[in-house]
Structures are given as C-alpha cells and as structure tokens.
Amino acid sequence: MPRSATPASPSMSVMAPAVAWLIPGAGHLIQKRWIRGLLIMASITIMFVLGLLMQGRVYQPNGGDILDILGFVGDVGAGGLYIVTRVQGWGHGAIAHATADYGTKFLIVAGLLNFICAADAYHIAIGKKP
C-alpha cells in the first residue's frame, strides 16, 4: 500500500534537503522513509568509498578549467563524505592509472546522486511525493 503524500512542517522542507546533502540518506530517514534512506545511504557511501579506494581524484575548489570546476561541483554533492575526505587528506590530486579514472567518476557521480536524493527528500517534505 503506497504511503500518501502529506506535506510536513515548513521547517522540514528546509531541514530535509540540508540534512540529506550533509549525510546521504538522512533526509529520507528523518522523514521515516527507513528503507529508502538506508538504501540511499549505503549506495552513495559505498560508491564514494570505492572511488577513494580506486585512487580517484578528489577535486578542490578552483576557478580554472571548466571540467575541474564541474568535478568539484560533483564531488561536493557528497556533503559530509567530501568534507571528511578533505579534512583527512584522503584521495589523490591526479589520476595515475585507468582504474583511478573510474574512481574519479565514482566520486563525482556519488555526489551528483546525492543532489538528486536531496531534491527527492525535499519533494517528500513538501508533500509532492509519498
């Protein structure tokens, strides 16, 4: 039986996407979408960690090449995962081999997927989605 779409409190419409960005899946969890939240959390976190283990490049804030800027935008979408990675100094600044290129894509796509999840958490909060 599908859950009906009911608008949550106005504060939830701000908090859900913010929390979802910071901790992947948390935007769904705080709205009691347990299974969806856990699946999102697992998928994005594992994808990001795999990217790091494959020695993917972690982009830093930059104003240079457009692809580097877009890479940073993708990476920063992972929220807390990206912040922890930067603080700990994990990841690599340059791609050394073919697998590392995959790792770079894993990191960027994990961030981009998290942006989609944050938008989804917002849609749930405003009652647009059950």
């Binding site: 599908p2 999102i40 994005i44 494959m54 697998t99 796509v109």
Partner: protein, 60 residues
Amino acid sequence: MTLDLTHFTAAVLFSVFASVVFGITQRNTSREQIRYGLYCFVLFVGGVFLAGWVMWILRH
C-alpha cells in the same frame, strides 16, 4: 589500501548503485521503484555490452 577493479566490475558496481538511487528517486510506489531500478540496471549493463561490441568492431 588500493582497489584495482576490472573495467567490467567497476561498470557493474556503478550500475547497481546508480540504479538503486534512480529507482528510489524517480518513482513513487515501492513496486514502481523496484521495476524502474531493474530497468535502469539492465540499460546500464546492456549499454556496457553494446559499447564493448562497438569498440571491438571498430578495433577489428
């Protein structure tokens, strides 16, 4: 620790995680989400095989 996956394994793992998120975010009911997730996964993996064969044909 370094992970050295094959291209195919990396592509399949990518497909799994992206399909899970697409399924959850792009559909409303659980049934639709599972169906759409599987659909995305098949398209991703199918695309990998298709691209592989195209590259093989171009190479030979």
